[in-house]
Symmetry: C2
Subunit: 406 residues, 2 copies
């Protein structure tokens, strides 16, 4: 007799039983707590775990994923296992029903309390495109780029949840026709389509996380938009890197997809030449790509389709590199891929690239044109990937609307 | 009748009643909590506040300064006022005596839970010296340097308390005679003598902190050593700035000196030309320097005496700049000056500068020479400043010993 699932969900929703991303939600009058997304519903996990007598219930009742993430891989897997088992049983429907909320009825919160936020530059096409725009007289790809994943620390305190409006930042920039900088609203507000990795299990100071230990430390992934003020960035970034051009806001998707749900999305990396140092190779198990298909939308128009599989450095290489000097990682740390751009012009993950440095406008479905974002525009990044059931899952989208400068 | 103080302290100790820095300490079998340093003793503040019936007692019983810092300027000042009043009364000696610990008998902890850590580059001599060493064929001072305080985000999770050993980090660097990079222990381990500012009162996302609001948001200062692996840094830093060359460890002094104690140390800034943008000037009240005299010691030899007063950008300009794009600050955020170097050769705050890029060794008191730090070396940064009583106060030192690479 085939089992009847306890919760009906359209397999084509991208949020079926093969996915089960985690996030933090609240309902009016009740505090934020951990939920799992199932189709267009959210399952309130703590009371279900409590009803089953599971000790993990306490961690699931809290307003960030951090306490749950700190429990480690064995607990993440066990929690996913009992949840999947429960959802497959028709008999569990009565237990679950009181704890299901319609997505439309809940508020979503930043899923993790972010420790450190590191942003990489792992896409070869992106680094080459940006290098050619920012440094037209120099070598497009930085000299060290194929030796190590170049990255920098971003501002953890301004990571906001998807759906948060983004106020157009002010900064010092040199306007066209001016010789010296003035302080005012950015004229080149950009998005960057990225994938972020969420650290669960911490590491000790002085002990690098090996490239083969990715699955032990990383819980899952979420889409990220690294909003950028290109005029501010280009004026300030030498020699210490991007600062105010990036630090005003970074948007993170509300739903974190567990690594288990992406098992079928692992794919080969692009060929790496020169061969990276041993600490970036390990036994080879960390050298995988991810076959995620991203889409960038401005006001509903798909303007680009960046293929994550084209990313040069593997997620495990990013983690191994950021800790190769002994730097520790903490529960809630984020590290992100950097802008995902494929080799084709319609595969770039930023408007800087799409508009060729602001000189070639692109057209939206309503006939209007853009180089960078206007006040009132909404930028969305979404993605899908092959799922373990043979279909496709949808990552939680990351979106934000641009509000005028104050 | 002159009052007899409740606690006897040598005025020349630098930790007299005109200072009263705060930190976090513990004693065997008791949890970390907030203390004030008085000479060579630590006053356990929470039980004293509790005995007086003060609500602040709860915040002072916790293992970081953050809950106390979050209370804001009015509470910081009130706490300092009752403490000063109490210490001035002979009659309070019996109340205080049970709560005084000898400094030698306590363990000191990282005083704040660090939110974001920003490091600036505010010393003109340092930026010029380093520019000439790292970019010998280019302009030493970056083009934007006099328009804005250049800065970057460091790694908050690897800020450690003074006294913590620092393991020599590994990283990719190009050894002399090699053409390509190899992964191994840094051969150019450096210190950087800096002053860090500790944020107490947070700000809202989207609302810049004005240059005149420094005293409202900043609780105090502490010395900081931004350890640097120069070979790793020089290989990796283009175009996103320092990353693994810095992120392995940053040491913070255990004692945070309240701004009030530095009232007599405020001094004029160097002349700023071109005139900075209005958001960096305000009504002028934020345009002050600090007359702190730093000393850098290697294995007990004073190798340099950097004058903080030579720093180009004011502390208030650093805070105004880092939030000028609307970035919020949080309780526990640190922002640091960057290496403090004066114009003279014996006033530089890093060994990179002292050794002219590693080519001119300097000599220690034991006759040995250094360019960069060897395993087993101890680096110390200490500082003094004019105090409100007409004498001088000593900032808590920041120190660390170098352990061999693992």
């Amino acid at each position: 007799v085939p089992r009847v699932p306890a919760v009906q969900v359209d397999a084509s929703s991208g949020f079926g039983l093969d996915h089960l991303p985690l996030g933090v939600f609240s309902t009016p009058g009740e505090p934020p707590r951990v939920g799992a997304r199932i189709g267009e519903q959210v399952l309130d996990l703590a009371p279900v775990a409590a009803a089953l007598g599971l000790p993990v219930a306490a961690a699931l009742a809290l307003p960030t994923l951090n306490p749950f993430l700190a429990l480690g891989r064995a607990h993440w897997s066990a929690t996913r296992a009992w949840l999947l088992d429960l959802l497959a049983q028709d008999a569990a429907a009565d237990l679950l029903a009181p704890h299901l909320r319609r997505l439309d009825d809940v508020r979503l919160h930043l899923p993790v309390q972010v420790g450190d936020y590191v942003d990489f530059y792992a896409s070869q096409a992106h680094a080459t495109n940006v290098g050619a725009i920012f440094r037209p007289d120099g070598q497009a790809l930085p000299a060290a780029w194929k030796h190590l994943p170049i990255g920098y620390h971003g501002r953890a305190g301004t990571v906001v949840v998807s759906g948060t409006d983004v106020v157009r930042p002010r900064g010092l920039r040199v306007l066209a026709g001016d010789l010296s900088p003035t302080y005012g609203p950015t004229t080149r507000l950009d998005l960057e389509a990225e994938l972020a990795f969420v650290v669960g299990t911490p590491s000790a100071l002085g002990a690098p996380v090996g490239v083969d230990a990715f699955d032990e430390h990383v819980f899952g992934v979420a889409l990220l938009d690294d909003w950028s003020a290109r005029d501010v960035q280009s004026f300030e970034y030498r020699p210490l890197g991007p600062f105010l051009g990036k630090s005003f806001a970074t948007s993170l998707a509300a739903w974190v997809t567990p690594l288990e749900a992406l098992a079928a999305a692992r794919t080969d990396l692009p060929h790496q030449l020169p061969e990276p140092a041993r600490y970036l190779r390990g036994n080879g198990s960390g050298l995988f790509g991810l076959d995620l298909q991203l889409e960038v939308l401005v006001n509903g128009t798909v303007v680009s389709r960046p293929p994550y599989a084209s990313t040069y450095w593997s997620p495990a290489q990013l983690l191994a590199h950021l800790s190769a000097n002994g730097a520790s990682v903490r529960t809630g740390d984020l590290f992100a891929s950097g802008t995902v751009s494929g080799p084709d012009p319609d595969q770039v993950g930023s408007l800087l690239e799409l508009s060729h440095g602001g000189v070639r406008p692109f057209t939206l479905d309503d006939g209007s044109t853009r180089t960078f974002l206007r006040d009132g525009d909404t930028a969305v990044v979404r993605a899908s990937a092959p799922s373990t059931s043979g279909g496709r899952l949808s990552l939680g989208e990351v979106s934000g609307r641009v509000r005028p400068a104050r």
